[in-house]
Symmetry: C2
Subunit: 411 residues, 2 copies
C-alpha cells in the first residue's frame, strides 16, 4: 500500500516531487487495476499542484461524490456519463490542499447493498464489501494512498475490514456532504481509507481543518476501553471474536484498561430502528429514481424502497426519538470510557460477489453519529478488522486509541 | 391571488377540472408576468395529472430547486442553462400528489442577499425582498396558488411580508432539501407561499404527509401568546410596531392571552452567531463556485465568502454551542407559551431594487429550527406582516394560531 504520510515525508524531504508521487499512483493503476475493477474513471493528464499539504497525493473518490471534470455515475446505468456542474465541497477542499482527485472509484448502485463488480484485492473470489467497494479496494491494492467513501449503515468500516485497510467514519457532519448523492441525510457520512491509522488521521485533520485530530507525538496514556460484543446484532464469526480478543490484549499490553461492557438497552433499541430512518429518508432522497427508473435500480435497493413506501411519518418520528434517547445514554457511557472496541464486521469477507456482507455491527454507530475507526488486525488469510469508537466530536481520540492498538499489534 | 384550497374545493365539486385550474395559472402568467419578473422558466405544455390531492395546483419553484425537465440556474450566469439529472425530493413529492411544477421562480444568486430583478407586485419601485423573491411575488400577483422558496436567514418570511402573502418556514428538516442548492446545511429550510394560512397549512400537511399539520375545524382555544420585540435585533419601523400591536389586539379579541415577553439572553447570543454558522458552511458549500467563478458571484455573496475565509473551526464550534444552548432555553420558553408573535421584517418593503431588505428579525428563528409563519396584516400601502412562531416540530400549532389571528383581523 501507499502511505500518505510516507509520501508527504519524501516530498517534504525533496526526494520525491508531487508529479512523481502522482506518477506512482498512475503506474500502480496501470499495473493492478485490470482484474480488480476498483475504478470507474481515471483523470487523464490531471494538473498536479506543486504546493499544499496534500500536494502529490492521488485521491480515489467514490463515484457518488460530484466532480465537475470527471463523470459521476452513482454506480448506476441511470447516471451513465452524467457530468455534475460543480465539484462536491469535499473535492474543492481536497484541491485547495493540493491533492489530485485522480480516479472515481466503483460504488454499489446509489451506495446501496446491491453488489458492484469490484473484487477483493486479497482474493478475487471474495467481495471487497460495499458500498464503498472501489475505494477500499483501491487503497488495499496500492492504487492510491487516500480514498473517500460514504457510510449510511456500514459502507466504510465494513469494506475497510474486508480489504485490510485503515479507515475512519468521522463524527456526523465533520466533513461536508454537499455534492454527495444523498441516501439518508441523517446518516450519510463521508469516510477516509488509508494504509494506516496515521495516514487517515493526518488526512482527516487537514480536510476538517482541525489540527487537533492528528496524532500527537506522545500518543495516548492508559485509555479506558470498553469491550463491546453488540449481542443485539447477533454473533460474530469465531475468527472475528479471536481478532477482537487479540486487539484487546494488545491494548492492555500497551497500557489500556480494557473492561467488558454490555451496552444499555436503549442502544439495542436504536440499533433496531436504524433501518427505519435510512429507508424513510431514502424513499424521499431517491424518489425521482424510483418514480422514473424503478426497473433499473438494483434488486436490493428496489426492495428496500418498495418496503419503505409503507413507512409513515410516525414510524420515522418514533425511530428518531429512539435514536435521540440512545445518544444521551451513549454520552453517559463515554463518561466512563475513552473508547469502545468492537467488531468491524461479522467476520472475513464472504465468498462470491453476489453480496457485500452485513453492516449489522456498524448500523448503531452510524445512527449515533460517533467517530468509528477500522483497524486491520494482522494475521493469515483474508483480512479481519476491529472497530474503535469514541464520543461524538472526539475523532482524534478514536484515532489515538486505534494507533495505540495498531502499534501494539505491530510490536 | 389564487387560493389553493378554493381551487381544490372547486375541483372536488366538479366545477373546475385540473387542466382548467392549470390554465388559470397559465393565463395569469401571460397577463401579469411581464413587468413583474418573477419567473425564470415556464414549463411549456406540462402534463396535468387528473388525480391526487394537489391535482390542478400549479407550482412555482425557486430556481435553486432541481428540476429534471426545466433548467435550474441558481439565479446566476454560472449556471445558465444548467439541467440537473433528477428532480429534487420535494419536486418528486409534489408530482406524486398530482401537482404541476409549472414555473421556476426568480431567486437571488445562490439564495444570497444580492438582489434579483423581480419587482414588488404592489409597487414596481420597491423590492419584493429576497432571496425567494420570485416565489413570493408570483403568489402575490396571482400567477400560481403555491410557490416554494428556501430560508437560510430570512429568505421566506421577509419576502412574504413585503409581498403580502402567507408563508411558512417549517421546522428544520420537516421537508427534504435533497436536490436543493446548499448554502448552509444547518440552516437551509424549504418554505411555502400561499394566498392565506389555510392554503399553506393544507399544502404543508400534504407535502410532509402529516395530516395533523392541517387546520382543525374547530380552531384553537385561548392560546398563550408571547409578544416579542427582539430588541437585540434593533428597532422596527413604527409601521411594523403598529401592525404587530394590531395583530396582538386581534389575537386577544379572539380569546388569546397575549403577554409581553423579553427573551432570555441566550437567545440574543444565538441571534448574534447565526451569521457565523451560515458563512462557515457557505464557504464549504459554495467552494467550487468561489474557486472557479469568484468574479461572477454577486458582490454581497462574494464579500460574505471573502470574509468567511478567515473563520476557523473553533469559531464555528463556539457558534454551534451557543445555538445549542439557546435551543434548550427556547424549549423552556415554549412550556409557558403556545406561540410567539413578533415582526416578520423591520417594516414595509424598502424602495428600490438595490437591496432585498434585512433578515434581522428572522435569523434567530432559522437557527433555532422552529416553525415560523408570516401573516399579512391588512391595511393601506405596501404590505406589512407579523411572524407567528411555535416550538420545534409543532408546525400545526404555529399555523392554527396564525389562522386564529388571520380570522380576527378579517372580522
Amino acid at each position: 500500500m501507499q502511505s500518505l504520510v510516507d509520501l508527504r515525508t519524501r516530498i517534504a524531504a525533496g526526494t520525491l516531487d508531487p508529479a512523481g508521487a502522482i506518477a506512482l499512483a498512475q503506474d500502480a493503476i496501470a499495473a493492478r487495476e485490470p482484474g480488480l475493477g476498483a475504478l470507474v474513471h481515471v483523470a487523464s493528464d490531471p494538473a498536479v499542484p506543486r504546493d499544499g499539504p496534500l500536494a502529490g497525493i492521488a485521491i480515489g473518490l467514490k463515484d457518488i461524490i460530484d466532480t465537475a471534470d470527471i463523470p459521476t455515475e452513482m454506480g448506476s446505468a441511470i447516471y451513465a456519463g452524467w457530468r455534475p456542474k460543480a465539484d462536491a465541497a469535499i473535492v474543492a477542499r481536497l484541491r485547495s490542499l493540493g491533492a489530485v482527485p485522480l480516479a472515481k472509484t466503483v460504488t454499489c448502485p446509489f451506495a446501496s447493498r446491491d453488489p458492484s463488480a469490484t473484487v477483493n484485492p486479497h482474493d478475487p473470489g471474495h467481495t471487497p464489501g460495499g458500498s464503498s467497494s472501489g475505494s477500499a479496494a483501491a487503497v488495499a491494492a496500492g492504487l492510491v494512498p487516500l480514498a473517500l467513501g460514504t457510510q449510511t449503515a456500514g459502507s466504510v468500516i465494513r469494506p475497510a475490514a474486508f480489504c485490510g485497510v485503515a479507515a475512519i467514519k468521522p463524527s456526523f457532519r465533520l466533513l461536508p456532504t454537499v455534492g454527495v448523492k444523498t441516501f439518508s441525510w441523517a446518516l450519510d457520512t463521508l469516510g477516509l481509507f488509508g494504509a494506516g491509522i496515521r495516514d487517515v488521521a493526518h488526512a482527516l485533520a487537514l480536510l476538517a481543518d482541525r489540527p487537533a485530530i492528528d496524532l500527537a507525538p506522545g500518543g495516548i496514556a492508559a485509555p479506558r476501553i470498553g469491550l463491546v460484543l453488540q449481542d443485539f446484532a447477533g454473533p460474530a464469526d469465531p475468527d472475528a471474536v479471536a481478532a477482537l480478543s487479540r486487539a484487546a490484549r494488545a491494548a492492555e499490553a500497551a497500557g489500556a484498561a480494557v473492561t467488558d461492557l454490555i451496552l444499555p438497552a436503549q442502544l439495542a433499541e436504536a440499533w433496531a430502528v436504524q433501518a427505519t430512518v435510512q429507508a424513510f429518508e431514502a424513499r424521499q432522497a431517491l424518489a425521482w429514481e424510483y418514480a422514473h427508473h424503478r426497473d433499473a435500480l438494483g434488486p436490493g435497493l428496489r426492495a428496500e424502497l418498495d418496503g419503505a413506501q409503507a413507512l409513515t411519518a410516525s414510524d420515522y418520528d418514533a425511530a428518531r426519538r429512539t435514536a435521540h434517547r440512545a445518544r444521551r445514554v451513549l454520552k453517559d457511557v463515554f463518561s466512563e470510557f475513552d473508547a469502545l472496541l468492537t467488531f468491524s464486521a461479522p467476520g472475513r469477507a464472504p465468498a462470491g460477489l453476489a453480496g457485500t456482507g452485513d453492516p449489522r455491527f456498524n448500523r448503531l454507530w452510524t445512527l449515533m453519529g460517533v467517530p468509528c475507526v477500522n483497524l486491520p488486525v494482522p494475521g493469515d488469510g483474508l483480512p479481519l478488522g476491529v472497530q474503535i469508537i469514541a464520543r461524538f466530536g472526539d475523532d482524534g481520540q478514536a484515532l489515538a486509541v486505534a494507533r495505540m492498538i495498531e502499534g501494539a499489534l505491530e510490536g
